[in-house]
């Protein structure tokens, strides 16, 4: 069994300063306001010789995590700052890191302070084994977002995705920023459509390993696996319900592809669609009361919404000849999906009632949108020239960042809850 998580974060100690979101900052960070100017100071050793590599690694993580939120404008910690009357006077906040390296572990002290007054906004100390040092920085980034906006970040979540790095389509897990990729499902067959349980500790996926596209559920920490659905025909595009006890799934056992509701152990609860067209790709609303899906009942694939009991089925996309892959946002206000343009796709956002349909990607071909658990970001597969890779962008289409690093075809990302 692959060790999915190392015993890390031995100590997470709250230092003076509040972890609760401050009203002042909630106002400042509100949407539409200008970005806060942030200095990320080069991490310094508490004592002894500096470790330049470690210092650079930590600073780079903060730059990426906090930079992609779009909430901060990074101010260079320029050397002449030291000479200035008030250091960091041209910034709103300073992020300071002090580290202590011992043979067994690394201890970090992270502090976010107001630049001019030096007032501490958030401070934490972490002790971690060396391979978990990245996690300490991602955790502090999540905490900074909580302190400043009232909503925690998703940087300690994992991305599951399908990779052809080994030749076949296999399922991997990596950090949100593409580090620590690990193969978790490989069987020489085709493996598709990973989806995390709400806890992030289980994964469902479709595999041909038994000769038919069946749905499997795997516990990531124990490796225990169950063949949840193996009806004749397809058992694909499984989606965990928001509370994690049910799975919506497309199966063709009764003639053509229809959407069904199962318990997470595979017991059928209900059949939700009934028509001779293809119904596929269910996605739950965050309250579990509705399901978005794809149907070609009017000729071409379009996005529909229905109640979780199958009633009240409505088409919501009215433009575009080929719309697929809906994913409901964690806040419930938007549905991301992809529309075919020529021979490629672009990602759109639409309101669940069908209003405000707009395209948010333009470059290359972009598919398989999935939301980060905090709803700030969309992770997706993008093909720009060569192979498909995993990308992340903000939920308005800005901040496009390439994440996967293997160079192999990588698609179908899913973003887990915090690990």
């Amino acid at each position: 069994m692959i060790r999915l998580i190392t015993v890390g974060l031995l100590l997470s100690l709250l230092l003076p300063g509040s972890a609760h979101p401050s009203e002042d900052f909630l106002r400042v960070m509100a949407a539409g306001n200008v970005a806060l100017r942030l200095v990320i100071q080069p991490p310094l050793p508490a004592s002894g010789a500096p470790d330049a590599k470690l210092a650079d690694e930590i600073a780079t993580i903060f730059k990426l995590d906090l930079g992609i939120t779009g909430l901060f404008a990074m101010v260079d910690p320029a050397p002449q700052d030291k000479a200035a009357a008030v250091p960091g006077a041209d910034a709103d906040m300073v992020l300071k890191t002090v580290y202590t390296v011992s043979p067994a572990s690394v201890t970090f002290e992270y502090r976010l302070q107001e630049s001019v007054t030096g007032r501490e906004i958030l401070a934490k100390r972490y002790s971690a084994v060396r391979q978990d040092l990245r996690k300490t920085a991602h955790t502090f980034s999540d905490d900074i977002l909580y302190a400043l906006t009232g909503e925690r970040g998703s940087f300690t979540g994992k991305l599951a995705y399908v990779s052809k790095a080994g030749g076949n389509k296999e399922i991997y897990i990596m950090d949100w920023d593409g580090f620590n990729p690990r193969k978790i499902i490989a069987n020489g067959s085709i493996n598709l459509n990973p989806d995390f349980s709400p806890s992030g500790k289980e994964l469902i996926y479709t595999s041909y390993k038994n000769g038919n596209p069946d749905l499997f559920r795997r516990e990531l920490f124990t490796g225990a696996e169950a063949n949840v659905s193996h009806s004749p025909g397809i058992n694909i595009t499984g989606a965990f319900s928001p509370e994690g006890n049910r799975i919506a799934l497309a199966m063709s056992k009764e003639g053509n592809s229809e959407i069904y509701l199962l318990t997470k152990d595979g017991k059928q609860l209900a059949r939700l669609t009934t028509n001779p067209a293809i119904d596929i790709s269910p996605s739950w609303s965050p309250d579990g009361r509705q399901i978005a899906f794809v149907s070609d009942r009017f000729g071409k694939p379009q996005i529909f919404v229905m109640s979780f009991d199958g009633s009240d089925q409505k088409r919501i996309t009215t433009a575009g000849g080929y719309n697929v892959g809906p994913r409901w946002s964690p806040k419930g206000d938007k549905i991301a999906y992809c529309r075919q343009y020529g021979n490629g796709f672009q990602i759109h956002l639409i309101n669940p009632d069908g209003s405000d349909d707009r395209q948010i990607t333009t470059e290359g071909s972009n598919e398989h949108p999935r939301w980060s658990p905090d709803g700030r970001f969309i992770v997706y597969s993008s093909k720009r020239g060569g192979k498909e890779s995993i990308y992340v962008m903000r939920n308005d289409g800005s901040g496009v960042t390439k994440i996967s690093k293997s160079g192999a075809n990588e698609t179908h990302p899913a973003w887990s809850a915090r690990w």
Binding site: K169, I190, L192, N193, G211, N212, P213, G233, I234, I236, T237, A250, S252, N256, S257, I278, I280, S281, V294, D296, K300, P301, Y322, V324, G325, C338, Q340, N343, F345, E367, T411, H412
Partner: protein, 237 residues
């Protein structure tokens, strides 16, 4: 001492069992018990000598239990003789069985080889006889050309093939991979249903969809896409 006797007795009784078993084999079912004994006595040397000896030995063993030591020696000799005879018979039997088995194996191997050859020939013929069919983009409708191909395939199957077939539905790379899994299945199903109407038994046919996961031609050209939108016929071995 007592132990020795016990061993000897048990070897003896085993010998008795063996030899009486042999004797019984030579008796016809309609003969009485008396004639059975006679037959055993009348039959020639070898095992039946041993049988007679052992019968005598059994008697003397019963009568002379008090002088057990002498008897034990005699019994051991007798048991050894029986054992020799039994071994000889077993060896002959084993040799015959081995020869027969070898022959059977050779025959089976030859049969297997020729069966494999025939199966391969049939597979090759099947592969060259059963043409794949193609589709328009985002469609599982059977064109006239596809129907003609399926008709020819059905004719071939009805005449020449009683085994099982899998119909594999495939798509080109342009559509959504999820939707294409359902579309590929609809293509395979369309082909299946047409073959059924042409009289191919349902028990011979099954379907699977690979969506766009297994293109014949990985190129991103109209020509490759047209080739990849297909249903293929695969023998289930």
């Amino acid at each position: 001492m007592r132990k020795n006797l016990c061993v000897a007795l048990s070897v003896l009784s085993l010998g008795l069992l063996l030899t009486s078993g042999c004797a019984k084999d030579q008796v016809k079912p309609d003969e009485g018990i008396a004639s059975k004994t006679a037959a055993a006595k009348a039959s020639g040397p070898g095992q039946n000598d041993a049988s007679q000896q052992s019968a005598a030995q059994q008697q003397s063993a019963a009568q002379q239990q008090s002088s057990a030591q002498q008897q034990a020696t005699a019994q051991q000799q007798s048991a050894a003789a029986q054992q020799q005879a039994a071994d000889r018979a077993a060896a002959e039997k084993a040799a015959a069985a081995k020869a027969a088995q070898q022959q059977a194996e050779e025959k089976a191997a030859a049969e297997r080889a020729s069966a494999a050859k025939a199966a391969q020939k049939q597979s090759d013929a099947l592969v060259s006889a059963l043409k794949m069919i193609n589709f328009e983009f985002d469609s599982f409708a059977l064109s006239q050309q596809s129907r003609d191909i399926l008709y020819a395939n059905a004719e071939y199957l009805l005449k020449n093939y009683k085994g099982k077939l899998k119909l594999e539905g495939h798509c080109d790379e342009r559509g959504s991979d999820e939707y294409n899994l359902a579309l590929g299945e609809n293509r395979a199903k369309a082909a299946l249903n047409y073959l059924l109407t042409l009289g191919v038994p349902a028990s011979q046919l099954s379907i699977i969809s690979y969506g766009k996961e297994r293109p014949l031609d990985p190129a991103s050209t109209e020509e490759a896409w047209a080739k990849n939108r297909r249903v293929e016929f695969k023998e289930i071995k």
